[in-house]
Symmetry: D2
Amino acid sequence: MINVGIAGASGYTGVELVKLISNHPKAKLCAVTSNSYKGKSLTDIFPSMRGFENLICEDLDIKSLSKKIDVIFLALPHKVSMQHVPTMLENNIRVVDLSADYRFTDAAAYESAYQTHTSKDLLKQSVYGLSELYRDQIKASTLVGNPGCYPTSILLPLLPLLKEGLIQPAGIISDSKSGVSGAGRSLSLSAHFCEANESFNPYKVGNHRHTPEINEILSLHSQQPVSITFVPHLLPLTRGMMSTIYARVTDTATQDKIRKTYDNYYGDEPFVRLLNKGMYPAISHVKGTNCCDIGIHFDETSRQLIMVSAIDNLLKGAAGQAVQNMNIMFGLDDKTGLNRVQGPL
Amino acid sequence: MINVGIAGASGYTGVELVKLISNHPKAKLCAVTSNSYKGKSLTDIFPSMRGFENLICEDLDIKSLSKKIDVIFLALPHKVSMQHVPTMLENNIRVVDLSADYRFTDAAAYESAYQTHTSKDLLKQSVYGLSELYRDQIKASTLVGNPGCYPTSILLPLLPLLKEGLIQPAGIISDSKSGVSGAGRSLSLSAHFCEANESFNPYKVGNHRHTPEINEILSLHSQQPVSITFVPHLLPLTRGMMSTIYARVTDTATQDKIRKTYDNYYGDEPFVRLLNKGMYPAISHVKGTNCCDIGIHFDETSRQLIMVSAIDNLLKGAAGQAVQNMNIMFGLDDKTGLNRVQGPL
Amino acid sequence: MINVGIAGASGYTGVELVKLISNHPKAKLCAVTSNSYKGKSLTDIFPSMRGFENLICEDLDIKSLSKKIDVIFLALPHKVSMQHVPTMLENNIRVVDLSADYRFTDAAAYESAYQTHTSKDLLKQSVYGLSELYRDQIKASTLVGNPGCYPTSILLPLLPLLKEGLIQPAGIISDSKSGVSGAGRSLSLSAHFCEANESFNPYKVGNHRHTPEINEILSLHSQQPVSITFVPHLLPLTRGMMSTIYARVTDTATQDKIRKTYDNYYGDEPFVRLLNKGMYPAISHVKGTNCCDIGIHFDETSRQLIMVSAIDNLLKGAAGQAVQNMNIMFGLDDKTGLNRVQGPL
Amino acid sequence: MINVGIAGASGYTGVELVKLISNHPKAKLCAVTSNSYKGKSLTDIFPSMRGFENLICEDLDIKSLSKKIDVIFLALPHKVSMQHVPTMLENNIRVVDLSADYRFTDAAAYESAYQTHTSKDLLKQSVYGLSELYRDQIKASTLVGNPGCYPTSILLPLLPLLKEGLIQPAGIISDSKSGVSGAGRSLSLSAHFCEANESFNPYKVGNHRHTPEINEILSLHSQQPVSITFVPHLLPLTRGMMSTIYARVTDTATQDKIRKTYDNYYGDEPFVRLLNKGMYPAISHVKGTNCCDIGIHFDETSRQLIMVSAIDNLLKGAAGQAVQNMNIMFGLDDKTGLNRVQGPL
């Protein structure tokens, strides 16, 4: 049994982690921390969470935590994570960090989008937690930088084709859409019901902080600098994310090769599903699951490839992939605790 | 042409007033004030409001306003209104106050629900702005206390039957439901998209501040103390309100008498519509209008009467009724500026 | 391991049953039937349901089913169920019927709301499947008439107080609200997105078919004819149901006695939760669970008791309670397969 | 006063036309037709439409109509329009057709997407009703083919830049999103509340019927064959549409030239608004208006231009633009009857 702690348990990602670990057959939730609700039980904070009357949000005290847990999930704001991670590792707590602090190899790229990095030496050690593409490194790691939600939805369809030289690295566009839960539980006018409901809009056009994360990974895998055009939009729904991605194929690409490449990469993966020709993902088909659905349309004449991917931003885009990474780190099957059947509603 | 000012123009009720006055054939919008957006134009605050680039939110300076306007709408918080109204009246500005400050006759009732009343002498002078029932007094008044949204939806169906002795004053229940815009534009967890969306819940059970307002008016008209049971609920939609009201009829009541009474009170009213037998209101049928739809079901055996009323909380429940009251105060037809055709979407 | 069949698996209730049984540790889904999608796999019908490529919707052929299954859930329309149930029982298939066909003791009451009953003799044998109140009879039964969603939400808060003489049987009112999934997956104008979205309305006022079901059970338990006032409304959300119930208490009732009574009935029940004083249910707190939350407000002066209950209409209001009943019938703990932790989103 | 008829008045586009004409100061609604609701009044069909008790849906009898009306709006299905238009013109009724039947110059392009064209000779005479770009031809015409909603949202931002040679005709992508009302009021599983709510998905990828319409107009104006990549998606909201459009600029293009070109084309247009740098449209900003908002982002390094446009699919995308075209045909100011102030909710 893996003893688990969750830091930042009172945010939307935090509670998803609480749910997943509570329902996990090989893990035990031993400690939760929350800055905003210290001393309160999870049931007090979220009446929907029954049976947690005795799980009290505590301080993030690493010494005390180290006696209780083997691994910690950090659902903390950027910058806060890196204040704690070095000490956690020293205390033999393995870390899955859901902030951006350990997603980058290049500290300068991180600093261009976030702030001064104060834990640079660990960037060499940390592993990017895109489970399907980094499984071997994750297995051996003690520190995983869990990917952003948009990067997950964009990299899963792009990486296999880029690595195999089937699409051109230049001119890639991702038109992405996220539900409101992506912005978290803190208050803002754009998350006010009356402002988000019955509306839809792009935001942070040209300067979203997930862009350098996406570009770094794409560049690493195509061995040349890749810079995508990325436009995120806000959907009037609670959970779910879709990326519609446009790329030019290379001369050797065919519909058949593209499908076969996906099959090679994901055919045995439980959480990535390539849809049949003519079928496309819907957010409702992946909501509540750790899955990424991918549908493609290839126009032979224009040589334009359209890839559509859908994930649940709180699961494959955050907590679900984090648990998948924990499973990999501890030698469990990826599916453990993540394989529940979901339905259409 | 009536010269109009709107105080608190940057809240949801304030902008509804701006829209209505801008579209009003006999009124001219001369000044808007806002505490939060001083110095900004309405188009800056609300990109949906085009053509207001030159209407800049100013300070609430009564001297300066008195040179420009004949009447002011106060879309201000409770307590703030009564700090300004006495001076406004002295400066010959007529007032339609959308806060609760001048809705009550009995200062003690106000104080039980709100705070110390600092303008008690004006309570004798102010008129309760339920347009259909107080038209004559509104005509002659310089200060109107515009009713709350819940009270409007509850009093319109109840008052005619109570006044004519067709329902028993004891045991009246109103199960009411409001859209999220009723809570205004300020930030709160309950108005967070992810918390309100796909949910529904009662709130302030037994202690909502509209209860004493409803009870005072019902008591005045039935000449005995009336105390209703009122349970408000939060609907996952932006605008609209419904009250489902349960009352016992008196011995003399019949379906026919009930319908005739409504017809006497509202048959010539443009904004109250009694639906045919077997028909009930829907929020979509009144959204965007100043109308109150009423449907009734009378069970002869149990002598129980069900009245269902629907309004747009921002219009008949606030800004629309306020403009209707302005029309009455200035001798215009009630419908002026309020009579636009609406459709189902 | 219990071998399970599900008839009508392609409706919203049917797929909830499929999910629950698939995730159930002691049950195995052996057969599904569907009239509309015969020959198709569940994954074809619902792309969100992965891993069901080989579970093909078949004909409802009882002989063939009887070789494969121990129990069948009937998510069939009223009238269709009773055409099959007698033969199923003869073939030793136990039945949990989610239609109304076996909910009534009195065939005349059924016929007043539905149609001619063609399986009257089985009404003596069938047990009403309100799990918490009928557990002993369910244990011994081979045929359970699973309660309607509205009746479940109304009877759970009312029955303990009525049985203990704490509320008056006359004058009970239930103002109930249901999400759109309650109307099923078949097409209708009222379930069209543009008609239901941003709206709210009562329907079938005074003549909803759940009224006689509620009245029969209330009458049985209070040993006198009880006739409630029941007004259902349509909420603009997918899943969830709330009933706000108003009753007069009897002379002996106190807040304390009421709470103790609930504690006696439900204190050990895993799926019924009495909320603390001042707390009320929300649909988001029960969505995705088999739970019924109950909050109460008692006004000592008016002697009026307000009970608010919330359930997920597809779970405790249908498929969840059906599986709870199967658990009881087969000697399992009620919670088996139903005890997953849920979160706020 | 213009005497107006509306054919197909009971669909969502039809009722928007009824609203607009009813609120129009220079037009009179003289006749409405409906296939589904013949003999019923509009108030019967839509309780939200008050005061139409006497406007009864009649047969589409051109002889009888020609005595009453000067112009007719056809909110009819494709194919039905062209069965009636020739006779209407012979009877001196001017026509604004909202179906696709008269949008094309090239009958073969129409036939590739729809069906055999049976009124080809009129294609030379009919004018494409994109008001801002075809104003002169519309003025002189008796038959206007009103543009599709997607084409309107895509052509308004693209045409000025294409015509002035600022963007490359090859490789244009439009990632478009529409609310559910775009699919009309007829029943379908994809418009079922429970299927569309909380979901989002692409549809008709690579084969939407608006593609040839867009391509024909783009080709005409850039004097070479243009073929865009167009992916429509379904948004979980009732009304509104957004297109996020990606194009490569030509060598001479600069941010400044692009803004100046828009200013030349639309600076005096009441219904097209170029947003300031860094500002982007939102559906809530145009809902309920006849406006198209355009926001642009130009990346100097990649030479990639992002154009985002938002319209109300039922207004600028259908009924609003149709009335704008009627205004132009009858020598009125474009804004007549379309210039009402809207607010954020």
